[in-house]
């Protein structure tokens, strides 16, 4: 034994970067071709873990939006007229190619987004492929989906997605749109455009007809131009509630169909009879998965006062084992924050929490010197009146509140303008059902958290948006019903 080191230090286990070949520059993907922006504008996509520039990407402007919508409109005629079974096969092809290229895409996504390879490998990519596989099967069965015998596509879908799950959000948007016979123009987020551009290449490999999928990297103004475009029939947006409201106003008085998947301030409710060890895991998954940059994050821990101390001790001990660092390392639990802006926002909100008297705690944790990092953080002594209990932080920051009775737990959980997710931890089955019934949230995880599946509809109540993505329900957003 004496020749052994005294602790079990995990040696670096980086996933190989060489499995992905990132070109120095990328164009817009319009009508099956990569092209520069009409005005020649470009922007840089950086790796948030290192601040290294990964590629230069064309930035779409109004003229490009016009061109892409036109291409999508032109493609719509043939695409929507294809037999469903043929559309299905294109989607099955895409699903399979994603599976084949999943390692490459996982590394790419980790580089561009900053999230740990463990997550892109085990969560993002399997779900992306599964989502295409699921909706592929719907393409020739739409008459059986409960929307009448012959539901019709809407036309051109303008889709704007966020940076937290770039490729997964793309899948959530594109798979149902194509299955139902729509064509799409999709704008990826400005900080994470690369996986969408790789997806364009997958479309090429799959032989997808030109113009069915168009990808327009850009900033908010690109998204605004797309959603406001008069020849777009359907808008799907995932992102902040503020932008979602702006889009809703823009679309008022039009006949564009709109679905919005927006912010959240999910309550994770732990009762005194919870399976404690699993609850601790669920809390950690709930708020530290993807660095808390998850709209359905369980960012408010509501713990029954009688077990608060015990639970917090366990939670803190568990947080001390989280491994923060190189997102490409297979043992990394916590990666980088997606951008300097997001880091600044998280930092400012955490400072507000302290200023308002909440007690801040972080596990001892060394942050890398370059890149954007934020240590997993807890706030205790938080009440519903604290900013950190009300505002969506979208980062690895958990606010801990207490409750005494199930009624109080439900009242606090629902006391928010959001209504996306909630968690319930108790071994008492009837309590799960009673509490789940009263929670005003679109997804309720009982004795688990942050689980996703293509068959399971996802979406919010209240200001978390409307419409559902996933499952049979997810078809409705793209059909004339």
């Amino acid at each position: 034994m004496e020749n052994l080191a005294s602790t079990f230090e995990y040696a670096p286990a980086p996933e190989s970067r060489s499995v992905v070949d990132i070109a120095p520059s990328y164009g817009l993907f319009i009508d099956g071709e990569f092209a520069e922006a009409a005005d020649g504008k470009v922007f840089k996509s950086v790796s948030p873990a290192t601040e290294e520039v990964l590629a230069e990407v064309a930035q779409a402007g109004q003229a490009d939006v016009d061109r892409a919508v036109k291409a999508a409109r032109k493609a719509f005629e043939k695409w929507s007229a294809l037999p469903g079974a043929e559309r299905a096969k294109y989607l099955f092809r895409i699903a399979r190619i994603i599976q084949e290229r999943s390692r490459e895409l996982a590394v790419l996504e980790t580089l561009d987004n900053g999230k740990p390879i463990k997550e892109t490998r085990d969560a993002d990519l399997p779900l992306v492929a599964a989502h295409f596989f699921y909706y592929a099967g719907w393409a020739d069965k739409l008459g059986h989906a409960g929307f009448g015998p012959n539901p019709q596509p809407l036309g051109v879908a303008g889709q704007v997605i966020p940076w937290n799950f770039p490729l997964l959000m793309l899948a959530w948007k594109i798979a149902p749109a194509l299955a139902t016979g729509n064509t799409v123009v999709l704008k990826p987020a400005e900080t994470t455009p690369l996986s969408a551009l790789f997806f364009a290449d997958i479309c090429r490999q799959a032989g997808l007809p030109k113009g069915v999928v168009n990808i327009l990297p850009g900033y908010g103004d690109t998204g605004a131009a797309l959603t406001a475009h008069p020849d777009v029939n359907k808008v799907a947006f995932t992102g902040s509630t503020a932008v979602g409201k702006e889009i809703a106003r823009t679309l008022a008085g039009t006949d564009k169909k709109l679905t919005l998947e927006l912010g959240g301030k999910g309550a994770n409710i732990v009762f005194d009879d919870a399976p404690i060890d699993q609850a601790v895991e669920g809390i950690v998954t709930g708020i530290f998965f993807n660095q808390g940059q998850v709209c359905c994050a369980g960012s408010r821990l509501l713990v029954q006062e009688s077990i608060q101390e015990e639970l917090l001790d366990s939670l803190k001990r568990r947080l001390s084992t989280l491994r923060l660092g190189d997102p490409l390392d297979k043992n990394t639990d916590i990666g980088a924050i997606n951008s300097a802006e997001q880091l600044a926002r998280i930092t400012a909100l955490a400072e507000t929490g302290e200023a308002e008297g909440a007690e801040r705690w972080s596990a001892p944790c060394e942050l890398p010197t370059s890149g954007y990092w934020f240590a997993p953080t807890l706030f205790t002594n938080v009440t519903q009146a604290h900013t950190v209990a009300r505002d969506e932080i979208f980062g690895p920051v958990l606010s801990v509140l207490t409750f005494r009775t199930p009624e109080e737990a439900v009242a606090k959980a629902n006391n928010t303008q959001y209504g996306l997710s909630a968690g319930i931890w108790t071994e008492k089955g009837s309590r799960i059902l009673a509490v789940a019934n009263k929670l005003r949230a679109g997804v309720v995880w009982a004795n688990t958290f942050n689980k996703f599946d293509p068959t399971s509809p996802f979406g919010g109540y209240k200001e978390s948006g409307f419409g559902r993505e996933g499952g049979r329900h997810g078809l409705e957003a793209y059909l004339d019903v």
């Binding site: 052994l4 079990f8 040696a11 286990a13 009879d273 004795n447």
Partner: protein, 325 residues
């Protein structure tokens, strides 16, 4: 090597919140039924997630040597002979005759009638002799017989006793009987360290495994051990994770540290490393020592040795380059 802790057991719990738990069958039952429940899916998901840790290069070398040092090299067959046990002892002392830097295993584990032979075989080394006892593996014998079995093994020189609990009594809800039997065996074991086998595959549910863990720890177990290796389901990452949580919580409440021994079904280096990750990230580094964690295994050792040779030479080894016993 840590110094020996005071013998746990009832006395050790005096003054802790658990002192009165075993006062009566009713208090014990209430306590056990008041333990937090276990959600099977969540537990198994956590175990699976820890199983995805990537242990490479220096960490792998460390883990392999640590795992070898934690093995209770076991033979528990009706066909065991003195020759077989001597060979096992030799292997425990020098697992890899080609490389003397290879750590010794923690112990050899044999039936009571082979203890004396085993002691001779490992004489002069720090390899311990563990003996299963208490009418292993079924445990279906009168208490007197079980205690005689234990005393016999101890008298023959056993350093460690691996007892089985009365699963029938446990499943019938007679927790006090299970508890008292462990207390009696602990006493009969004298200075030998006591490993309490639950036969988790027969207890069937995770809630039961958690309760059994606490009965064992309250009764003074030095180790809690998953299984005999003689039933369909033996050590799994999930049941071992659960038992690691139990010893972690027990120490937090009483200050008494108890070891854990998964046994049966761990055959590959990859598996063993996953278990070490479970230990490291659940109970913590204090348990990363063969005083507190063991593997009940036999074929695992050769796989570890082959992996060790691979790390040393850079080429894959083969079964002809490790000894069959």
């Amino acid at each position: 090597m840590p110094t020996t802790t005071p013998p746990p057991g009832k006395a050790a719990l005096t003054g802790t919140p658990l002192a009165d738990v075993t006062a009566s069958a009713a208090t014990l039952r209430r306590f056990l039924h008041g333990l937090p429940g276990v959600d099977a899916v969540g537990l198994e998901a956590r175990a699976a997630s820890l199983g995805t840790r990537s242990i490479k290069t220096t960490a792998k070398a460390y883990a392999i040597d640590l795992a070898i040092s934690m093995i209770d090299l076991t033979t528990l067959e009706g066909a065991d002979t003195a020759g077989k046990v001597r060979a096992l002892g030799a292997k425990a002392v020098h697992p890899d005759p080609t490389d003397r830097t290879t750590p010794r295993t923690a112990a050899v584990c044999v039936y009571p009638d082979m203890v004396a032979t085993a002691k001779e075989a490992v004489a002069g080394s720090d390899v311990k002799v563990a003996s299963v006892a208490t009418a292993f593996p079924a445990g279906r014998a009168a208490l007197g017989v079980k205690l005689a079995d234990v005393r016999d093994a101890v008298a023959a020189g056993a350093d460690e006793i691996d007892m089985v609990i009365d699963r029938g009594a446990f499943l019938a809800g007679d927790y006090m009987k299970v508890y008292e039997e462990i207390v009696a065996v602990k006493e009969a074991s004298a200075q030998a360290r006591l490993k309490v086998i639950f036969e988790t595959g027969e207890l069937s549910t995770y809630d039961n495994i958690r309760r059994a863990s606490w009965i064992g720890m309250l009764a003074g177990a030095d180790f809690i051990k998953t299984s005999t290796g003689k039933v369909g389901v033996n050590a799994t990452p999930a049941n071992t994770l659960l038992m690691l949580e139990a010893v972690r919580d027990f120490r937090a409440q009483t200050g008494v540290q108890v070891g854990v021994k998964p046994a049966g079904g761990i055959r590959t280096t990859k598996d063993a490393v996953k278990f070490l990750v479970l230990v490291n990230e659940t109970a913590g580094a204090d348990w990363l020592d063969n005083h507190w964690f063991r593997f009940g295994a036999s074929s695992l050792l050769n796989d570890l040795l082959m992996q060790r040779q691979k790390l040393a030479t850079g080429r894959y080894s083969g079964p002809d380059y490790v000894t069959v016993d």
